[in-house]
């Protein structure tokens, strides 16, 4: 199997571990990820505040490149990139005016996009293309007894709900159940917001949200929180000391990209998964996994 792959801007910085582990995990599963040529920023939420059409058009530039490369699917790891790119697709399909405007804008740079590249979250591919049965076959180090808090974040299935329940997603739960982990299936905060970009603009608000998430994870007895979005991951992981300072707490919960923990279960070398790049030590997690 082969997929065209869109890493997203964070993959080059704070989210390096996500990118590295996604590639390593897929390689282990016999899937090659081919990076989209000369991809640009998806537009993220900021572009929506400028002009909706800009956001759709610059998102569509990526899809146009995918079309040019002869692919009709694009694998995305970041929740926000996924939602932004998929939203561009949906609005283009639903509104002929949007479609025409985007066509025009792409035409101005000599590109063309017909609206037929399907944007797929990497989780979608894992669950629906590779399948849990196949995935489970590759599990060499079962995560038995490891309490995993599956944290999906906002834009994993909201607002699209294309491959998982819009309100209560379960794909990550199922993926880790297949590794033998003790998944906290009633993790109540699994789709709550981490604060996103507000960590920079309204730190107090974002810290409060992270605090609630960490409380919920601790209440469930989590040994590790797994995330599916670079922004969620950085907020929950790197800002734990700030949360502690603000709320007088003592959180020190390892936070990983779900691809990192899944990679470990498949026996991928931790270094290849960039686990050493995590700022909250994952030693306790590594120690809990049998060799």
């Amino acid at each position: 199997m082969r997929y065209l792959y869109y890493p997203g801007c964070s993959a080059e910085a704070t989210g390096k571990g996500y990118d590295a582990s996604a590639r390593a995990l897929m390689e282990k599963l016999g899937v090659s990820l081919v990076e989209l040529d000369d991809w640009n920023c998806c537009g993220a939420t900021s572009y929506f505040s400028v002009r909706e059409l800009d956001s759709f058009a610059i998102a569509a530039r990526n899809l146009a490149i995918a079309q040019q490369m002869g692919d009709d699917e694009l694998c995305v790891i970041c929740n926000a990139c996924y939602t932004t790119l998929a939203k561009a697709n949906r609005y283009m399909a639903e509104d002929p005016k949007v479609f025409a405007a985007v066509q025009g804008a792409l035409g101005a740079v000599g590109r063309t996009y017909d609206g037929n590249v399907k944007v797929r979250h990497i989780m979608d591919i894992l669950i629906n293309d590779i399948g849990l049965e196949e995935f489970e076959k590759h599990v060499t180090r079962r995560l038995t007894g490891l309490k995993v808090a599956p944290y999906y974040g906002c834009q994993f299935s909201r607002p699209m709900g294309a491959f998982d329940d819009v309100q209560m997603p379960t794909t990550m739960d199922r993926l880790f159940e297949a590794t033998g982990a003790d998944v906290i299936t009633d993790f109540d905060a699994k789709t709550d917001c981490c604060g996103g970009m507000m960590m920079l603009t309204r730190e107090d608000a974002a810290l409060r949200l992270c605090h609630e998430l960490l409380v919920a994870a601790r209440q469930g007895g989590a040994d590790v929180i797994v995330a599916a979005c670079p922004l969620c991951e950085i907020n929950l992981e790197a800002y734990q000391p700030r949360v502690n300072k603000f709320f007088g707490t003592d959180f020190d919960i390892p936070v990983m990209y779900f691809t990192q923990l899944a990679g470990l279960a498949l026996g991928v070398d931790p270094k290849q998964l960039a686990i050493d790049k995590q700022v909250v030590s994952c030693a306790s997690v590594l120690a809990a996994i049998p060799a």
Binding site: D188, E212, V215
Partner: protein, 657 residues
């Protein structure tokens, strides 16, 4: 053949038609059309003076064809046809042009509406010369009535009909009649005990000599037509001989399969594999659950039930029976289902303990329920705080758009019961709008305010178990915006009751198809007219009552059941009924005997006459769909009232302008 003398009447319908259509202009234009001898306009054609215009013209001017341009024929075609008939004109020589529902009400522009009205009218003017005098077919009426559904609506309708001496077949899917009402503890706003007012009616229905109770039975097939329905009912095997079973319950004591979740107790209590759903069941007979009984599953069992049963009523060999009934009318009273809140995952139903549905609370608060009427949590303790969440699955585009009408009031009833049992417990009602519209309801609402219930105006955002303060530790937390304060509150609660809306029964659609009528967009049975025929369906002779039509409270249900019974009675109390003569006929001279019509007829109303080598229509069985006409390669079958020539003429008329 006398010359055609067509009269045109154009109704203003107040301003309903005249406000959009230039009535004078169209009337004047109509007067110029071929065969039209008189063209009039009138404010309300359906009024007596309006109908008199038609009668006078028929009698004085010798009018022999009439077109009334007015509302939909489903409204007033019978009115005008009767007027024509009274004046001595065959009613089928009168046509209606629907210029209200299909024209004035749906068209923005006045000129466009006027032009469209002309085209609609012209179609009928062209058609009329091809109309033939037809005589309604008179058929005998079977005086028996079938009532489908044995909840309070079905019981009430059955009792009313029985009181007039009519034979009633009361069909109920469950082993006992009683429906949802039998599960309730109290009824709002009077707080009568539900069982106290319902069980006398149940037992009356069970004992009534005119009522044949068909419990644990389902309708499989319906054929026939008004006055003459043929119904196949499957009486499911109970594996108990109901003639000899006395309902002593000794078998229940003996049964070894003891942990089957009780449907009647919403799964909160347990029953045995051989069971009587509740002590007041009617008929009071045991039933074996074939999916749970060890013997019936082919497993080993010493069959202690057989030993315990004095009258030897248990019969493992019993089979389903399919029974045929003939009735003149049918009343549908198949009820509702509580909307299952599982998809509304943010309320954590099925995920977190002590998040329960309203029906579960009914059982918890019921003295004969699984907790003996003690309002307790799963761990047996009394809740210190209870939140009641309104509009779960109601008024929500994601699930059901409709208001379920009863939830506000039953929620208030819950508050009262909690306060009565546990005066120290805090009760929160989270509502969007408090709909206390019935007799005594607003007073009940005020009473609850006075009893100290907290009313929070806002729809709950989510129910969570994450504690952010010591007060929340180990409890449920309901997040809600108190819209009157404009703040988001976190309400700690030990029990959360989801006031789920009422949903159409899951099989409503297929049941409606079986009986030949439709469902509304919200899935409830569609009434013939929302205002004037709320208990009739489009199928003559089939009536509806209770929550299968739309959510309603008990008083409204009982009233509707009475209305449906009266409707059925008005039909079956006559020896005959007239049915439309728009049936097919085949000219044996033209028929080549190819069988196509025989094969397509949905009602097997066409038979092949071997002797004559032609197809023949059995008029009594033909319902007038016209499928045979369209199927025949040589257009031999023709349908009275819908002749090809008539349809062609309509097309010509519509396209002539």
């Amino acid at each position: 053949m006398p010359e055609d003398k067509i009269a045109v009447y154009f109704c203003h319908c107040g301003s309903n038609i005249a406000g959009k259509v230039d009535v004078e202009k169209v009337t004047a234009w109509a007067a110029e059309q071929p065969n039209v001898v008189v063209s009039r306009e009138y404010k309300y054609m359906c009024s007596d003076p309006g109908q008199d215009l038609i009668k006078e013209d028929i009698q004085k001017l010798g009018v022999n064809r009439v077109v009334v341009a007015a509302c939909s024929p489903t409204m007033h075609e019978p009115t005008f046809r009767k007027a024509a008939s009274d004046a001595g004109l065959n009613p089928y020589l009168l046509q209606m042009a629907n210029v209200r529902e299909h024209c004035s009400w749906v068209t923005e522009d006045k000129d466009e509406a006027t032009e469209k009205a002309k085209r609609i009218l012209n179609a009928q003017i062209h058609r009329l010369p091809f109309n033939e005098a037809l005589d309604p077919i008179e058929v005998p009426v079977n005086p028996a009535v079938m009532v489908v559904g044995g909840g309070i609506a079905g019981i009430e309708a059955a009792l009313k009909l029985s009181a007039t001496g009519k034979k009633v077949y009361l069909v109920e899917k469950q082993p006992s009649i009683g429906g949802h009402m039998a599960m309730f503890d109290k009824t709002f706003p009077t707080l009568d005990c539900a069982a106290c007012i319902l069980t006398p009616k149940m037992s009356a229905a069970g004992k009534d000599p005119n009522i044949e109770l068909l419990a644990y039975s389902e309708v499989e097939e319906v054929d026939g037509y008004v006055g003459n329905f043929k119904v196949k009912v499957r009486k499911k095997a109970r594996y108990v001989n109901t003639d000899t079973c006395t309902g002593c319950a000794a078998c229940l004591e003996a049964c070894v399969v003891r942990k089957v979740p009780s449907e009647f107790d919403q799964g909160l209590g347990k029953r045995t594999a051989i069971y009587i759903p509740f002590p007041q069941a009617v008929p009071l007979r045991a039933t074996i659950d074939a999916e749970k009984c060890l013997t019936l599953k082919g497993k080993k069992c010493k069959q202690p039930c057989t030993t315990a049963c004095g009258p030897q009523a248990i019969d493992f060999e019993q089979q389903d029976e399919v029974l045929d009934f003939e009735v003149g009318a049918i009343i549908m009273a198949t009820g509702f289902e509580l909307w299952d809140p599982t998809p509304e995952t943010r309320y954590s139903y099925g995920q977190l303990d002590n998040v329960i549905t309203s029906l579960e609370f009914e059982r918890i608060s019921n003295a004969s329920g699984p907790t003996g009427g003690h309002i307790v949590l799963k761990n047996g303790e009394a809740p210190k705080s209870v939140a009641i969440l309104h509009c779960v699955g109601s008024r929500d585009e994601n699930y059901q758009e409709h208001c379920s009408r009863v939830c506000c009031m039953y929620s208030l009833k819950f508050s009262h019961l909690i306060k009565e049992h546990l005066p120290e417990t805090e009760v929160y009602e989270l509502y969007i709008d408090m709909r206390a519209y019935g007799k005594g309801y607003e007073e009940f609402y005020k009473r609850l305010m006075d009893e100290g219930v907290h009313f929070v105006r806002g729809r709950a955002a989510e129910v969570s178990s994450v504690a952010l303060s010591p007060e929340e530790e180990g409890r449920l937390v309901v997040k809600v915006e108190d819209t009157l304060l404009g703040i988001v509150r976190r309400i700690p609660a030990d029990m959360v009751i989801l006031s789920s809306g009422l949903a159409p029964a899951k099989d409503a659609k297929s049941v409606a198809q079986t009986f030949g009528f439709g469902c509304s967009a919200n899935g409830f049975y569609l009434e013939r007219h929302p205002k004037l025929e709320p208990v009739s369906t489009v199928t003559d002779g089939i009536f509806i009552a209770g929550c299968c039509q739309y959510p309603k409270d008990i008083p409204d249900t009982v009233a509707q059941a009475g209305a449906a019974a009266a409707g059925a009675l008005a039909l079956v109390d006559n020896p005959t009924v007239k049915v439309e003569p728009t049936v097919s006929y085949i000219d044996p001279e033209k028929c080549c005997g190819c069988h196509i019509c025989v094969s397509v007829c949905p009602h097997t109303a066409i038979q092949y006459n071997e002797e004559k080598g032609v197809a023949e229509v059995i008029t009594a069985a033909c319902k007038g769909c016209g499928v045979c006409v369209a199927a025949c390669g040589s257009n031999v079958p023709q349908q009275a009232g819908y002749l090809d020539d008539q349809i062609f003429a309509e097309i010509e008329g519509a396209m002539a302008l």
